[in-house]
Symmetry: C2
DNA sequence: CAAGAATATCTAAATTTTAGATACCTGTTT
DNA sequence: AAACAGGTATCTAAAATTTAGATATTCTTG
């Protein structure tokens, strides 16, 4: 298992991303298409088996319509 | 070379991180110690050969004393 | 220019990520 | 209840990335 994983903040990030996709009303397959990756990758991402890099978070924000800085602010205030 | 690399936003992120360490007045070795990684890893990071994950950015903010949300906001407003 | 500090580069091993296939739900239709 | 469908999760092997550690290079500053 990757390293940053298991960190509370990573978990929070993940649940935020899942929520964001849900609110955007699109499926993993659709999100994958827009991000030009495979659905299995999105599944792994959302199940916390993969880290999210900063630029990727920004891209996800563009696709799903959320403000990446917002979520960073939220999770930054948690204890690791 | 990693994927997100070469992205303008990644480059901007990197230069911000370098600047932040410089302002914090610590060396790569010291930063590495605080982050519990090797100096070579910090060097790779700062030379843009490695992605920065979201939780890592937050930790860097804690160690170097910057607001991670701030930098995300800044670079999010650039074109990829 | 020498000495030391700081940063960069290299390599091989370890870890992680990926595509692609396939399996697993959870409804729904017949 | 069986067959189907849409959506998500899991598996595997290959590809890509990351890492530690060693070593080299590049500053500084006396």
């Amino acid at each position: 298992m990757p390293k940053t994983l298991g960190d509370q903040r990573h978990d929070k990030l993940i649940s935020f991303l899942i929520e964001a996709r849900s609110e955007a009303g699109i499926t993993q397959v659709e999100l994958a298409e827009k991000m030009k990756v495979y659905q299995s990758l999105i599944a792994r991402l959302e199940s916390g088996q993969r880290r999210v890099d900063v630029v990727e978070l920004i891209k996800l924000g563009e696709v799903l319509g959320f403000d990446p800085a917002e979520i960073v602010k939220k999770i930054a205030n948690m204890r690791g």
